[in-house]
């Protein structure tokens, strides 16, 4: 079930909130768990068993993984072996679905909940958190529907207190709803609409688009992906807040970044921090030589590519980013580099859309055609030279709004207006306008749904 659907917005959510509200506080975790399981089943019934299995097995492993410094050598060795087995098991299962030659359909949310489970196990092993003794609380941590399908990837420590005790208040519900609405607007009114430009270009066929249109569409896709994912993350955070959870942010105005390195500290932050904490830093991070750092970065980016998909284009994407990051690092090490503001942003906007094309176009020959049209090394076939005129007139206004929405301005406005009458009326109206658009246009699947 997708957040931006009538079934969720007008049926599941209100019914769930009512049932959750009338549940006595001590039983609310159970209600949340049952609700989340129903939510999952409505989205992907075939994979429910796998989710339950993962929760059950990993819960038990967590019980035995306690603190590596405790106990004598034999016990410590056993725990280490258990951890290794758990990592291999979880990653192996994820890899099985992602890379199976037959092309198995990926169980809903598996990339996200697997990483979340791994973070839990590793944190228990490291002694950073206490193992969760209650299966109910553990299961809620893994499966709660605000973050089950597409993240954010939550650290156990971020919600452990709330799993134990949290408030379900009028303020929480309404504040959460406001955030949720911002996310819904981002998805339905921005992403889904600007995404049509991208769909149009696919329909025409990459070989038949002009170079200006190729760039325009790449920018449109960049915006669509952002507002899609950002919107979904906000919806998750909003839902979490309604229930009394503070879920972590996933985006921090990435398109305001000053380079690719900065970009990926602002984009899908919960994935980035996961790789940093559990792969990059254990490998040594940037504390060794530059050469070693570059190697560590390579490992992280290869794994990031694999996390996103098995087709080669993801490797092209990841390696391309790695090269750019390495390049930026070298520039950063030059003492005489001035602190620039405009040039890095222009560079960002030139480079990031190209990388997103590598990310999105899974067929390498099609990717070659697209990049070829962008940079002029592939001949166009039956190109309508003024195709971008009409596109610009149709989408110009929307693109402008999207660019503005990439800046911190919207967040600031939200903060100022959300408690005022005008802000509340705006938010309320926008929600129902989104509902109307969903009814009229059908329900667009969110891009990261298939990860």
């Amino acid at each position: 079930m997708v957040f931006s659907s009538i079934k969720f917005l007008l049926y599941f959510l209100p019914i769930f909130l009512v049932l959750y509200g009338i549940t006595p506080k001590s039983c609310r975790n159970l209600t949340l768990l049952i609700g989340s399981i129903i939510f999952y089943t409505l989205g992907d019934p075939h994979s429910l068993l796998l989710l339950l299995l993962s929760m059950g097995v990993n819960y038990f492993i967590g019980l035995y993984l306690v603190g590596r410094r405790e106990g004598h050598r034999k016990v410590r060795k056993k725990r280490k072996a258990l951890l290794t087995a758990a990592i291999i098991g979880n990653v192996g299962m994820l890899a099985l679905f992602k890379f199976a030659p037959g092309g198995l359909e990926l169980p809903l949310g598996i990339s996200f909940y697997t990483f979340q489970v791994l973070s839990y196990l590793l944190d228990v092993y490291r002694g950073e958190i206490r193992r969760e003794m209650s299966f109910l609380k553990f299961a809620v941590y893994i499966s709660m529907f605000p973050q089950l399908i597409s993240g954010p990837i939550v650290y156990y420590s971020e919600v452990s207190a709330q799993l134990e005790s949290r408030e379900f208040t009028a303020e929480g519900i309404q504040e959460g709803l406001k955030v949720f609405i911002m996310g819904l607007v981002s998805k339905v009114l921005l992403a889904d609409r600007v995404g049509i430009l991208w769909t149009q270009v696919q329909t025409t066929g990459f070989e038949s688009i002009s170079t200006p249109l190729a760039w325009l569409a790449a920018v449109a896709y960049s915006l669509k992906l952002y507002f899609d994912f950002y919107g979904y993350s906000l919806m998750g955070i909003g839902l979490g807040r309604m229930l009394g959870f503070e879920l972590p942010e996933n985006f921090k105005e990435p398109y305001m970044a000053l380079g690719v390195r900065d970009f990926y500290r602002r984009w899908h932050m919960t994935l980035g921090r996961w790789f940093r904490k559990y792969v990059y830093i254990p490998l040594g991070g940037n504390r060794g030589t530059e050469g070693r750092t570059i190697l560590n970065l390579l490992v992280v980016w290869v794994l990031t590519s694999l996390w996103h998909g098995k087709t080669l284009n993801f490797l092209v994407w990841g390696l391309g980013l790695w090269l750019l990051i390495v390049f930026e690092r070298q520039l950063g090490r030059l003492k005489w580099m001035p602190k620039l503001r405009v040039l890095p942003r222009l560079y960002l906007w030139a480079v990031i859309p190209v990388t997103w094309m590598c990310f999105e176009i899974t067929d390498l020959s099609q990717l070659e055609v697209y990049l070829g049209r962008m940079f002029g090394f592939v001949q166009g076939i039956n190109v309508y030279a003024r195709d971008w005129y009409s596109v610009l007139s149709d989408y110009g206004g929307l693109l402008l709004i999207c660019f503005v929405a990439c800046t911190p301005l919207v967040r600031k406005l939200y903060g100022i207006l959300k408690d005022r009458l005008i802000g509340m009326v705006a938010l309320g109206t926008l929600f129902w306008v989104c509902v109307w658009r969903i009814i009229v246009e059908g329900e667009n699947i969110f891009t990261y749904f298939h990860f």
Partner: protein, 340 residues
């Protein structure tokens, strides 16, 4: 106090009532509830399968429309309506399954209706029209140059928009095309740029102001969401009649709805090739082969399975720009040139 505490929720709900009423969305918003109720009712009464299947109705070609589920609002008597030929036998696909999402999974399977996959018969109509001045076989088409279209107008939906952008006739012919155009709004939608202070006018108005020698028409894919074949064909005939009233000297080319890929057809929603073929048969029957002709480009762009060739499209519905010239060349080779 209580009001203040829940002020946002209150505002939220009021906005909802206003927006939903203004956009007439209550019925659609209630659909999941209705469907859940229907599902429950079926489960309770022990039935299996989906509700009224469209393919059963399609299969009943020519047979007694007594099969037609009752209670449909269209009120077409069995065998009645203006279309006295076979197409009316296609029974009444009322607001039933085809329009809605879930159950249409049944639609595309088991279709055993005999409608010929049009490959062999190609461009001429499959079913001989009941009222004819000429048999389609007697029509002799000429091959022409691009300038043949200089006094032609192309009216249609997004497929025609594609022809506009990539058919190479931009500066030659006139196009009254718009994404989402249907037979129901064809005459009344304001899609024609005037370039003056009136802004956009309707196709009907535009055709009252300017005479064309040829009219090319292709609509039909967008309406499939309503699923009602009978209603579509009835309206189509009305539009054809009106076009001939507005442009008495023009040759009217009724183009078959371009099919979709087999994969897209099997997706289980309202777009499927069986429905398209049914509509095309009805359209073919409307051509008299003297003033109006039926042209079907499908054989040139479809494969052995009767669906659009996969490589020719990215979304299964629209031809890629690269292949649109095939359509244009087809039209150039099937021109009717009136002797002076």
């Amino acid at each position: 106090m209580w009001l203040k505490k829940w002020s946002f929720l209150g505002i939220f709900l009021v906005c909802g009532a206003v927006v939903m009423t203004a956009t007439h969305s209550w019925a659609d918003a209630a659909r999941p509830a209705r469907e859940a109720g229907e599902w429950l009712a079926r489960v309770v009464s022990g039935e299996s399968g989906g509700p009224r299947d469209e393919e059963d109705l399609l299969a009943e070609k020519g047979e007694n429309p007594g099969e037609v589920p009752s209670g449909n609002g269209e009120g077409d008597a069995p065998g009645g309506s203006d279309l006295t030929d076979e197409s009316s036998g296609e029974s009444n696909l009322s607001d039933g399954p085809s329009g809605e999402e879930d159950d249409s999974g049944e639609q595309s399977e088991e279709v055993d209706f005999q409608g010929p996959e049009q490959e062999g018969d190609s461009q001429e109509s499959e079913a001989p029209p009941e009222v004819t001045y000429r048999n389609p076989e007697d029509v002799v088409y000429a091959t022409v140059e691009d300038d043949y279209f200089s006094d032609a107008v192309f009216i249609g939906d997004s497929r025609t928009v594609g022809l506009y952008e990539y058919g190479g006739l931009l500066d030659v012919a006139t196009f009254y095309a718009s994404k989402g155009l249907t037979i129901f709004n064809l005459l009344t939608a304001e899609i024609v740029e005037t370039g003056d202070e009136r802004g956009k006018i309707t196709v009907e108005e535009a055709l009252s102001e300017r005479q064309f020698a040829k009219i090319y028409l292709m609509v039909g894919i967008n309406e499939m969401g309503t699923g009602d074949l009978e209603r579509f064909l009835t309206k189509y005939q009305e539009v054809v009649t009106r076009l001939q009233e507005l442009q008495p000297d023009a040759i009217l080319y009724l183009q078959a709805i371009i099919k979709v890929t087999t994969d897209r057809s099997n997706k289980g929603d309202y777009i499927n090739n069986e429905g398209i073929v049914a509509r095309n048969e009805g359209i073919a029957n409307m051509a008299d082969n003297v003033k109006s002709y039926y042209l079907d480009v499908n054989p040139l762009i479809c494969d052995e399975d009767g669906g659009m060739i996969k490589d020719y499209t990215s979304d299964g519905v629209h031809l890629k720009a690269k292949y649109i010239p095939i359509w244009k060349d087809f039209l150039k080779e099937h021109a009717v040139v009136l002797d002076e």
